[in-house]
Amino acid sequence: MIVNSLGIMAPILIAGLGGLLSERAGVLNISLEGLMLTGAFTAIVVTASTGSILLGATAAVIAGAALALVFSIISIDLGSNIFITGLGINLLAQGAIPFISNQMFGTKGVLRFAEMPILPRLELAFEFRVPLVHDFLFGHHIGVYLSILLTALTWFLLYRTGFGLRLRSVGSNPEALRLRGLTPEHYKRIAIVLSGVGAGLGGALLALRLGVYLPNITSGRGWIALVTIYLGYRRPGGVLIAAFVFAFAETVSMAAQGVVALPNTVLLSLPYVLTVIAMVVYSAVRHSGARRHYSR
């Protein structure tokens, strides 16, 4: 169950980390869902045509970053409303992917290719005797390790580099940055592109883990990634924990499906229900915390 949870966690975590970077720069990127979908589609198409997972994932990252760049140009340079633009990106991905898929492969539906390489797993060459520890540490696909590594990297970038400091001050105090002679827009743009990198890679993992592209393969995971940012108190470690909690909840609900016979369609609403509960609880807690702070 934990193995499953970690596998489900990785794409959400990586997309969430990307979203965290743009959130810290003061841009709530609600287009994560569309960026992930783009990453998933690109990853499958490129992996199938080149036979290389690495190339597929790289292409997905580039596609996510490119679409995020479009997002940043429209929202920052054209000055469009950032939420409406983010929705536009989601809609564009939803509309353009089936269109492109149909032009290339003659179908808007499932893309399954023969000889699709599978995501490698990290297995030990020797027997490791402690079962629970073994299950927790080994046997996952490489995306899981990558996601943990990226969590540490994001933490380092945000808190241990000058770039990270400036990025965070764009979100908290853009005027101070401007007074120092720097342009906040520049950092916002980089942060948005980085969120595209994260979401693209997250989407790639999602699809490569299955080895197929399904329509709406993300099914709300981009939104969950968005909420892990809030739930994780806008910190990389927090995003890691929040993403794991969601992944575990999903694993449990999938297991429960066999027992209580929940209809499949109802299960589709679960990520959204959990997300909205998490958001409301988070804001209620923060709200009462702020009030206490104020009265003190």
Partner: protein, 359 residues
């Protein structure tokens, strides 16, 4: 969090509409085996017979209501992104109510079914307003998430417990004949709901621009801090606009059942919420601006529907058009970029523009 109410600039609106038509034509040319016929069907199809014409006007009714719902929320500075779910919820509740009150007389039955649907939708949207009011939870995200959570559940109910066993379609049973709204332009589906939609638009205009509450409503949307400083109960102008926005989406959903289809079809509301937002943005969130915007959108929509015979991309087409409209419509720097751009082209062509002086 201050983000103001998004309102399209006039240059943005013009460019967005041109871009929408261009995208449509390009997609039809790429995606259709018979592009010429598809384009002809797209542009002239809606006027080719009373069936298409009536259905286009009926689509206009829906867009006016959802557009007004989105616009009224924008005017108060709140975002309702759950329109699609609210339309859907209202439709199911209306269908169930209409089938339950078969013994009531027609006016009572219609009133009951309509009220139930509208109330359900208003409460759904109002919930997001309440969260925002109580704990400052972002209503933009919660309204979307609540809708996304409810859509699969309603899908399940229509396919499962509420399904009509007599029909091959995935739909609720058809409502009693007596409760169906009068059709205006048979054989099309246009019904008298259009009169209600136009009345609601006029009412919204009057409320917003000719009453004190409307003034407070708009002031809260323009600058919530200023409004609070001026003694306006701004909490109310978060909660109430959300609920009213939901109610208008609900009215669209109820009309779908009582007038258009006489049953709630599975997935019928897909994209309706986004369309409403696009209409509100094109109409600059003005109740009367929503009317021409809804007309243009209804035309685009029914054009792509008649072109369906020539292409398989109606849904994708509509989605991409919405995306393009969203990108351009709220662009604030377009008016300043566009002249610069044309001047640069002009300079290249050796033409000097007279309206220099602006930088």
């Amino acid at each position: 969090m201050s983000r103001g109410s998004p309102r399209g600039s006039f240059a943005g609106i013009a460019i967005a509409l041109i871009a929408a038509v261009l995208v449509t034509v390009v997609m039809l040319v790429i995606g259709s085996r018979t592009p010429q016929a598809a384009i002809r069907a797209f542009f002239f199809g809606p006027f080719s017979n009373t069936y298409y014409l009536g259905n286009m006007i009926n689509g206009f009714t829906v867009l006016v209501l959802t557009g007004l719902g989105a616009a009224l929320a924008f005017r108060a500075g709140v975002f309702n992104l759950g329109g699609e779910g609210q339309v859907y919820i209202a439709a199911v509740v209306t269908a169930v109510t209409a089938n339950a009150v078969t013994h009531a007389s027609a006016p009572v039955g219609i009133a009951l079914a309509l009220t139930a649907g509208v109330l359900a939708a208003a409460m759904t949207a109002g919930l997001s307003g309440l969260f925002r009011f109580l704990w400052d939870t972002d209503e933009l995200i919660t309204s979307f998430l609540i809708a996304s959570a409810s859509i699969p559940i309603i899908d399940y109910m229509i396919v499962g417990p509420l399904n009509d066993p007599a029909s091959n379609l995935l739909t609720t049973p058809r409502i009693p004949e007596a409760l169906r709204l009068l059709r205006i332009l048979p054989p099309s589906r246009l019904h008298i709901g259009i009169i209600a939609a136009l009345a609601v638009a006029a009412l919204a205009y009057f409320l917003l621009f000719h009453t004190v509450r409307g003034y407070e409503w708009r002031l809260t949307g323009l600058n919530i801090e200023f409004a609070r400083y001026g003694g306006i109960n701004t909490g109310m102008y978060i909660l109430v606009p959300m609920a009213i926005s939901g109610a208008l989406h609900g009215l669209a959903g109820s009309f779908h059942v009582l007038g258009t289809h006489h049953a709630a079809l599975v997935g019928f509301s897909a994209g309706l919420g986004w369309n409403g937002l696009a209409v509100a943005l094109i109409g600059r969130s003005h109740p009367l601006g929503v009317l021409p915007a809804a007309m243009v959108f209804a035309y685009l929509q029914s054009g792509s529907r008649t072109a369906i015979l020539h292409t398989e991309f109606t849904f994708e087409l509509a989605t991409i058009i919405q995306a393009v409209v969203f990108f351009i419509i709220t662009a604030q720097h377009l008016p300043s970029i566009a002249p610069r751009f044309t001047r640069r082209i002009g300079a290249r062509l050796g033409i000097r523009s007279n309206n220099g002086g602006e930088s």
